[in-house]
Amino acid sequence: MKATWKIVVLTSALLTFASALLHTGSSVSAASAGQVTGTVKLDGTAPHQKGIDMSKDPSCAAAHKDKPVTMENVVAGANGGLANVVVYVSQGLAGNEIPSSQPVQLEQKGCQYFPHVVAVDVGQHMKILNSDQALHNIHPQSTKNAAWNKSQMPGGPPLDVTWANEEIPVPVKCNVHPWMQAYIVVVKGPYGVTDDSGSFKLDNLPPGTYTLTAWQETYGTQTQNVTVAAGKPTAVSFTFKAK
């Protein structure tokens, strides 16, 4: 009896030590991590974006009385920058990146999704808010993650969701307001989403050689190899040709 206890205690002590060793050995501290910064540009003019008529739901239409809403399939900003492009590491991750700890947010406002494209790390928390006077249902059309469809009352509590598997992209729709469309891009590891000027930033990338992929909802993907050095930013740029 006594011998069994000893074995159990010894084994668990060893295991704890081993896992601690593994952990400290592989994790990359923020200081030694590299960074990728860059821009995504659109070569040419963005295609015409159809207008959205929200008259079906007067509370939605009222939110846009002064400014008509258009679709956001291609959003080109100043200086040819292309917004809503997700840049992520498609090859070369060693599994020792620092996971993104801050939750990302997807807000339903004026019967539109903000942001229109949201990227999230596997396991990272995502907060979904309804800031409208209307009821929405959030219906991600996922194929690699468990599919779900939840309603959210006006002023209802935020939903907190996580994604188990990489999936690029998960189209999200609201069945009550068919014009509403967002894309959740579930990636593994660091990612960046371009802003209106087309710039993005990937933090916490350990030094090494990677394949970066830029995904845009209309134009698809582009890839590029990049070597990241410790402690300094590496510049990368992508260009999508307007169609």
């Binding site: 207008g51 008529d53 079906k56 729709k173 069945n175 068919p178 014009w179 469309q181």
Partner: protein, 268 residues
């Protein structure tokens, strides 16, 4: 005493209901269609027939409970001559005649909507129902609707109808809207089709209520006689968002309609 009290209550309830119906306390909204008077007339006739029977039945019930409800002592139970079988046959025949008469009289109103061919110069609008919204399609300047490719339906690009504008010349100028605008006093022909389950197109003021049946294109035509904004609602339970499935009908002058069409074309 309880028998007499019951009789009094029955009479009061009957009178209140009869008053509400006869005085149009909760009545249908004003009719704005050319065919509407036929339907309203039919509804009035049906209510008159059914109401007369209703009042008669309630009065007989009240009279019997008033006269015999409180009597003491055993009374011999009397049954319908011949027992239950003739009673059921008798009731079946009476109800059958009533329904046949209603359908015969009502066929005129029904025929005025469904057996009258649409005006060849009708404003044509293709209506698509889907969980949980209506979308409308106008043929554009060429007057032709492009073919539908359901596999191309993509709400993310607002291709609600599944049009292939790259390959189908007729689809290029089709105008898709979320609101149904029609010119006043002009015949309108709608073609209803559903992209998923059963739905219904109901505009109370137009006296039009027609189901969508998946897989079938159902034409319905009418002429609106008054301008205004009216609700189009789905009256066939179609899923969780059914309560929110609606759109608006905008009946406007021809000039306003032409302007509206230009605005919608610019939004495509």
């Amino acid at each position: 005493m309880p028998g007499k009290a019951f009789a009094v209550v029955v009479v009061i309830v009957t009178l209140v209901i009869a008053y509400c119906v006869i005085a149009h306390v909760w009545w249908m909204p004003v009719d704005i269609s050319v065919h509407g008077p036929n339907i309203d007339h039919q509804i009035e006739e049906t209510i008159f027939g059914a109401g007369t029977l209703f009042i008669a039945g309630q009065l007989v019930l009240a009279a019997f409970s008033f006269l015999y409800g409180d009597s003491k002592g055993a009374r011999k139970m009397k049954s319908f001559p011949g027992g239950a079988k003739p009673l059921i046959i008798f009731a079946g025949v009476v109800v059958g005649i009533e329904i046949l008469v209603l359908s015969f009289v009502g066929s005129k109103a029904w025929g005025s909507v469904y057996f009258t061919p649409p005006d060849p110069d009708s404003v044509r609008v293709d209506v698509q129902a889907g969980q949980f919204a209506f979308y409308f399609r106008y043929p554009g300047p060429d007057g032709k609707f492009g073919p539908l490719h359901p596999e191309l339906i993509n709400e993310g690009t607002q291709n609600f109808f599944g049009l292939d504008t790259d390959h189908d010349a007729d689809s290029k100028d089709d105008i898709i809207t979320a609101e149904l605008a029609i010119p006043v006093n002009k015949p309108v022909l709608l073609t209803l089709h559903s992209k998923d389950v059963g739905h219904s197109f109901d505009v109370r003021e137009l006296r039009v209520q027609q189901d969508f049946v998946p897989g079938i294109v159902i034409p319905i035509h009418f002429t609106a006689t008054q301008t205004g904004r009216f609700e189009i609602v789905c009256t066939q339970l179609c899923g969780l968002g059914h309560y929110n499935m609606k759109a608006y009908l905008e009946v406007i002058s021809q000039a306003d309609f032409d302007n509206w069409m230009k605005q919608q074309a610019a939004m495509q």
